[in-house]
Amino acid sequence: MTEPFRRTALKRTGALAAAAMAAGLARPGEALADWNKGAFESKTVADALKHLKIAAPADTKDIVIRAPDIAENGAVVPIEIQSNIPGTKSMVVLIEKNPFPYAANFDFAQGAALPFVALRVKMGETSNIRVVVATVDGKFLTAVKEVKVTIGGCGG
């Protein structure tokens, strides 16, 4: 089975799932998966990846993560991710030192969305931001970017 983001729950049905299939985000016979509670509640990167059924992603330079070296405020850290990997199907974003590292997953309809996303996250402390890309042919690739979180302002 090569489908990387097949998830066990099959709750998201109806029009949305039909639209998802039409868009190529999910394949026939496989409803668009539900919000992965197990992965989101994992306290370590390893656990989260296990729940996401991602095994041993290989390092790559083809994922470009643009984020500040030092964040002005850990409450709002702007990140832009661009995948240059052909057949990029989805991106998982993990903030390794957060209490719950798994922050988000993004799915891109093949041919209809570029493998790019901009988002803003909360970071409790200095940490690596890890991105794992899944491709349509079932490969996993990963890259990291460190963001330092410092104290700003008067601290009173």
Partner: protein, 277 residues
């Protein structure tokens, strides 16, 4: 140790002071540091998509909706350019309003309109004037809307009325007035170029290029807490950090300081509601 002995010791020690002081007093040179440059790179990203816009939309809605005991909108509110004129009003405040007999900054004038036109109770509005994680007071959203209607315009507060000039003079005096447990004045942090508190750049508010940096970005979406704040809040929290007692919301002293700031920033372009640390 008795006081007398202490004094002797002090006298003996005092002779050694100048040398020690010379050793400890060299200030670091003013330079663009890497941290600041990194912040500024991403400031563009943050400013390009600023949640403050959500509050502008909210304020616009509040402005035109009939509300309050008098069930009136703010369409007749005169922000200094005539009833109902919002465009460009924010950058021409604070100014003197004969109807109120006072110099008023934007938020003060908006609240005045809410009270006189809509029948809101000023004391009630002043009770909890600042945003929290769960609540954005109406004057905050309204001020954000009004400020957004001056985006890209030059700061041009009038100094024609004697009251406006008096407000500037009072604001200047308060700005430099050192008091409180830490001997701080506004100028302690904002009277010199190129200094930082922690990683936060301190604009020199006594000069146009610095004053605009203080004026710019307010009303601001504050990343800490994710709330919208106006200059009334900014000054309130400055005085808290200054170890002063608390200034009253919309008081003359605050309008005076805002007049000092706006006049110092005169001629600079206002970019609209901003995003702050």
């Amino acid at each position: 140790m008795t006081r007398a002995l202490a004094l002797c010791a002090v006298a003996a020690f005092a002779a050694a002071i100048p040398a020690l002081q010379a050793a400890a007093q060299s200030k670091p040179p003013v330079e663009r540091d890497a941290t600041t440059e990194e912040f500024e790179k991403f400031r563009e990203v943050l400013e390009a998509d600023n949640p403050a816009e959500l509050f502008e939309v909210k304020g616009a809605e509040l402005w035109k909706t009939p509300r309050g005991p008098k069930n009136a909108s703010l369409a007749a509110c005169d922000l200094g350019l005539g009833p109902g004129v919002v465009k460009g009003a924010y950058v021409q405040l604070p100014r003197y309003f004969a109807d109120a007999g006072k110099v008023m900054d934007a938020e003060r004038r908006i609240v005045y309109c809410m009270v006189t036109l809509q029948g809101f109770d000023e004391a009630a509005l002043a009770k909890a004037p600042f945003s929290t994680e769960t609540r954005t007071p109406d004057p905050v959203a309204l001020t954000t809307f009004v400020a957004g209607q001056s985006r890209g315009m030059k700061i041009a507060p009038p100094q024609t009325e004697p009251q406006e000039r008096a407000a500037y003079a009072l604001g200047r005096e308060i700005f430099f007035y050192r008091a409180g447990s830490y001997d701080f004045a506004c100028a302690s942090c904002h009277g010199e170029d190129g200094r930082r508190i922690r990683t936060q750049q301190l604009p020199n508010l006594t000069r146009a290029d610095g004053a605009i940096r203080g004026y710019q970005g307010w009303p601001g979406y504050r990343m800490t807490g994710g709330v919208m704040h106006t200059l009334q809040w900014r000054l309130n929290d400055c005085f808290r950090q200054e170890r002063f007692p608390e200034p009253q919301y919309l008081s003359d002293s605050l309008t005076a300081l805002l007049t000092y700031l706006a006049v110092n920033a005169k001629g600079q372009v206002y970019k609209g509601p901003g995003i702050k640390r």
